[in-house]
Assembly symmetry: C2
């Protein structure tokens, strides 16, 4: 008999992930701070939990998918948190992106109650969550990874066990360093192209498949060329992840000069009220410096 799943946090990511667990046939109990967000999933056959502890009491594996380190601490460790409902032998899987160090502390607290933990942050955006094609980077014990694999397979495609507690979070932050670095490269390149008077679409066609290529350039340069700022991933969420990178890099003594600069650029865009635009709107920080914009091609 497959394990009963609890799912806490039905935001832009969690909603799609929980729906895919239902589709895969898992018995599912959900909870969300804003209760109305549970209705869709309940209509599809999920149970509604009263609070995180109640979800944990009804589940063998409890997934948390919330925004930031304090949110994870709240739903797991606070008064009505998972830790007060979970039985010994239960497994908590945190799919949020949070501090690797805090992850190790939460794992310690759960271990003291006989509860296992995996950190399993995801990459792939709301589209990947909905389609079940997420990349999932997992930290924790190997036997718990094996135990959770059917659950991961219902939600993602590239599922990698990368090390012990916190390793999944560290790899997710490595991922974010690459994402924003590739993003600033794209922004500088497109603005330089605009200044140099070349056709941006032809430029894209000439170089996107070669040594200059990246997922970011392939997918987001066309959006920039059309001045389409709809988010695959918002500036606010990107900035939250970069704060985690900078904190961890400071603790670890790792120099991240470019990531640090990008953090400052995103800061200026948040100050302009652009936090809900896509992370590729980073180019607006360079445009502000330049005093000119790239022209929209429509």
């Amino acid at each position: 008999m497959s394990e009963r799943i609890g799912f806490i946090g039905l935001g832009i990511m969690g909603r799609g992930m929980a729906a895919n667990l239902l589709k895969a046939g898992f018995e599912l109990t959900v909870w969300n701070r804003t209760a109305t967000r549970m209705q869709d999933l309940v209509a599809q056959g999920a149970h509604a939990g009263a609070d995180p502890a109640d979800v944990a009491a009804r589940s063998d594996i409890i997934i948390t998918c919330v925004s930031d380190t304090p949110d994870v601490k709240t739903v797991i460790l606070d008064e009505q948190g998972v830790i007060h409902g979970a039985r010994p032998g239960a497994l908590v899987i945190d799919c949020s992106t949070i501090s690797p160090q805090a992850t190790r502390e939460i794992a310690d607290a759960l271990r003291a109650k006989g509860v296992f933990m995996l950190d399993a942050p995801v990459s792939g955006g709301s589209e990947g969550a909905a389609k079940g094609t997420l990349s999932i980077m997992v930290g924790g014990a190997g036997d718990q990874f094996e135990r959770a694999l059917p659950v991961f397979q219902a939600m993602g495609k590239t599922i990698t066990h990368v090390g012990g507690h916190g390793a999944g979070q560290t790899v997710k932050l490595v991922n974010q360093v690459l994402v924003v670095g590739n993003c600033i490269a794209m922004c500088e390149a497109l603005l330089f192209a605009q200044a140099g008077g070349v056709d941006l679409q032809k430029t894209y066609d000439a170089i996107s498949q070669g040594a200059a290529g990246s997922w970011m350039f392939t997918n987001r340069a066309p959006q920039i060329i059309q001045r389409d700022w709809r988010p695959g991933f918002t500036i606010d969420l990107q900035q939250k992840d970069l704060r985690l990178v900078l904190e961890a890099a400071d603790e670890l003594g790792a120099p991240v000069p470019v990531t640090s600069l990008i953090f400052q650029f995103y800061r200026t865009l948040q100050a302009q009220g652009l936090g809900s635009e896509g992370n590729h709107a980073l180019i607006k920080a360079l445009e502000n410096l330049a005093g000119f914009e790239i022209k929209a091609i429509r």
Copy 2:
């Protein structure tokens, strides 16, 4: 009858490109400053020219593939340069990577003699030159692009006419901004991963195919993980191209803060005598800042 080709500059790139023209059946006259480099191609059926003017006198289309702006000016405009041998109606194709502004000036000088010009810098490294799979970014008149297409097709795969004189060079520089930006992102990410204690190979497996992916990460991260500094493209050549970017960006008023920082990092590596290593050895500049290295996996 196909046009007779002259080829000037048989360096690491030009050698492979000229050989592919011979293979495609073009009649070929070659010249190189260091004459011994002509021997292989002469053995394969090429004629040896006495100097660039002599090559031009024997050819309908003259290709130049040398290092930098002054070298192109020398072989085209100096006393024994192409301009003194080329007949009206001839076409000069410059496959070097040089200043877009200088390119427009050279095109003007040639036009005054009735000689056409295309700028056609290439991307894809010595491997792409040897295999005939280069990306070629072409600036100049559309009819001359059409005329040259069979020649380009013998040397490359992705051939794009991007605009007027200098546009090929501008797009090549855009390409280089992306290459080095994706490179510094990779270097920061790997050093952060090392500091965070995660397995670099597992990290690579978990994220290289997703939103963090790039040609650079896919192809050069494995080299870095093995501390293999053999060049696909050397630091010295990369630095030469970045100097062209910074000069052009300054003229055009385009802010390139990250490219500018990378230029400074490469500078420190050249000062250490590492100019002939691959451009991915950029990570050594961060390692020097950090005071630790990523561990080799062999």
